[in-house]
């Protein structure tokens, strides 16, 4: 894990800032590049959009075998996060989950992005968001 790689998308990661392609409406997160990864527009015009903190699980796994640095079981989901103002498409986001039981997870479960320490880089913590199942949704 490297510092520069993390820092490249730090603002997006921490503020849930995404980028909407003005040609095809694809919402890219966390990348802001000069070409569109869906329609191939080159050069593409992107506009910054704010993602909502609350989204819906599209699919998930619970990882049991990981390097020693990562706690297991480690649930992981693909979540569609809508735009904060309710317009346009959602962004499709990979995210680890905070402590979550398998029974609490299903396709369609509502989750909320929480700012957390993801990993320890040896000397410094790497912070970004994790998803958690909100209390009112927990069964």
């Amino acid at each position: 894990m490297s510092g520069p790689r993390y820092n490249r998308t730090r603002r997006q990661d921490q503020r849930l800032v995404a980028f909407e392609c003005q040609s095809c409406d694809y919402v890219s997160f966390p990348d802001e590049k000069r070409t569109c990864k869906r329609c191939g527009d080159a050069p593409a015009t992107f506009e910054e959009v704010q993602l909502a903190e609350r989204g819906e699980i599209q699919t998930f796994v619970v990882q049991e075998y990981l390097p020693d640095d990562i706690e297991v079981p480690q649930p992981l989901a693909i979540v569609d996060l809508p735009q904060a103002d309710g317009s346009g498409e959602s962004a499709r986001v990979y995210g680890l989950l905070t402590e979550t039981e398998l029974e609490e997870l299903s396709v369609g479960t509502e989750v909320v992005a929480r700012f957390r320490e993801l990993f320890d880089d040896g000397e410094r913590p790497i912070n970004s968001f994790k998803f958690s199942v909100p209390r009112e949704v927990k069964r």
Binding site: M1, D31, Y65, L96, L102
Partner: protein, 385 residues
């Protein structure tokens, strides 16, 4: 333009080959190939060029010169191909294109991988070094996410997914070069350790060393080497990304659909014409989804397809008679080449205990992950006798 034909193949038994060096693997597959050619070959005189598939996980140095050294085939163009888990297939495709173009008459395609020298590195890299997007996503997680969604969207059962592993392990016991030679039941799969829910240990291919080689040549030279060449009828290769915001991509591999469409179009054959297939089953769910991507059944019907026994060795459309990656193993650079070698044997009637009767058209399919995108590359080749 000439056609390209496969006229020989060689393989070393896949498995834990810790005592074998990279050169040993390459030498083994190469010598087996040289000995396999029906009418004989003078390799230093006959072979014009070499395509070498390896991801070089063991960090042996990136160059086609590795094959030159291991085989003694010097003073020839030797190119290393790297294309994720489809590396071996892409090495083959590049050789086929050069032969068809008339630039090369006889090409050696060889793939090798020493997976066991650096397993930790592979998993660690996938999990840790992709914070920018992957956030701790390993290979079983990438494919497992498709399993979760396929079960949700199409009522595919966990048992149907496990059946793929049962079938392929049964085939593997009959295939002499397979890494894992044991049978297992649906219960065995379901009760094996959870790797990444919903996938268990027996849903995952083993970590395997291996090497494989095939010889590709043109119309004119093919009969010099054998009376029974196998023609490359069509090929397709495509790329994609999981991150394209495509809903469908949660349950299929768009690149496989594109690559197979290309291969079907070029060959003039469709999915119904395929008598035998070797497909990429790095995980049990991968093969299930691939039935749909290749058009063997409709989207969402893969569970029923295997329930009905269609892809079994004695079924209507046998898939992975060699035991697939699940039983045979997945030494990345060698995998696609070994699939071609198996189809070559099948179409010549040389496949021994896993022979599919009267196979005339065979399909090979190989996908790979690149940069955190499941199925980001896909290669499909259609061969005919």
């Amino acid at each position: 333009m000439t056609d390209a034909h496969v006229v020989g193949s060689g393989i070393v038994d896949f498995g834990e080959k810790y005592e074998w060096s990279f050169d040993d693997l390459l030498e083994g597959a190469y010598l087996d190939l040289v000995e396999s050619v029906d009418h004989g070959i003078n390799p230093t005189a006959d072979i014009d060029a070499i395509w070498y598939g390896t991801l070089d996980i063991a960090n042996e140095g990136s160059s086609g010169a590795a094959v030159a050294h291991a085989t003694g085939l010097f003073e020839k163009p030797a190119t290393q191909i790297v294309n994720a888990c489809a590396t071996g297939s892409d090495a083959f495709r590049n050789a086929v294109q050069a032969v068809k173009a008339g630039d090369i008459e006889v090409a050696l395609v060889i793939g090798a991988e020493k997976m066991l020298d650096s397993t930790e590195g592979l998993i660690g890299g996938a999990a840790l070094e992709r914070l920018w997007r992957g956030r701790g996503v390993t290979m079983p997680a990438f494919f497992g996410m498709r399993a979760t969604r396929h079960m949700e969207q199409y009522d595919t059962t966990r048992e149907q997914i496990a059946e793929v592993s049962v079938k392929n392990h049964e085939n593997g016991t009959k295939y002499p070069h397979a890494h894992q030679q044991f049978e297992c039941s649906v219960d065995d799969v379901m009760e094996s350790a959870t790797v990444s829910y919903p996938l268990n240990l027996y849903d995952c291919c083993p970590v395997t060393d291996g090497a494989c080689a095939v010889l590709v040549t043109n119309d004119e030279r093919s009969r010099e080497f054998t009376d029974a060449p196998v023609r490359v009828a069509g090929y397709g290769f495509s790329t994609d990304s999981f991150m394209r915001g495509d809903d469908l991509a949660l349950t299929n591999f768009p690149a496989s659909r594109q690559a197979s469409s290309m291969a079907y179009e070029r060959s003039g054959y469709g999915p119904d014409d395929v008598d035998v297939a070797e497909v990429h089953d790095c995980f049990s769910i991968t093969e299930l989804i691939t039935y749909e991507d290749l058009g063997f059944c409709e989207q969402g019907e893969a569970g029923a397809f295997i329930d009905e026994g269609i892809p079994h060795l004695d079924g209507e459309k046998p898939v992975n008679p060699s035991g697939g990656l699940l039983s045979k193993g997945h030494p990345i650079g060698a995998t696609g080449v070994a699939q071609i070698a198996e189809i070559f044997e099948q179409l010549r009637g040389d496949a021994g205990d896993v022979q599919v009767p009267d196979a005339e058209v065979g399909l090979q399919h190989n996908i790979g992950i690149g940069r955190n995108a499941t199925g980001a590359v896909s290669c499909v080749n259609v061969l005919e006798r």
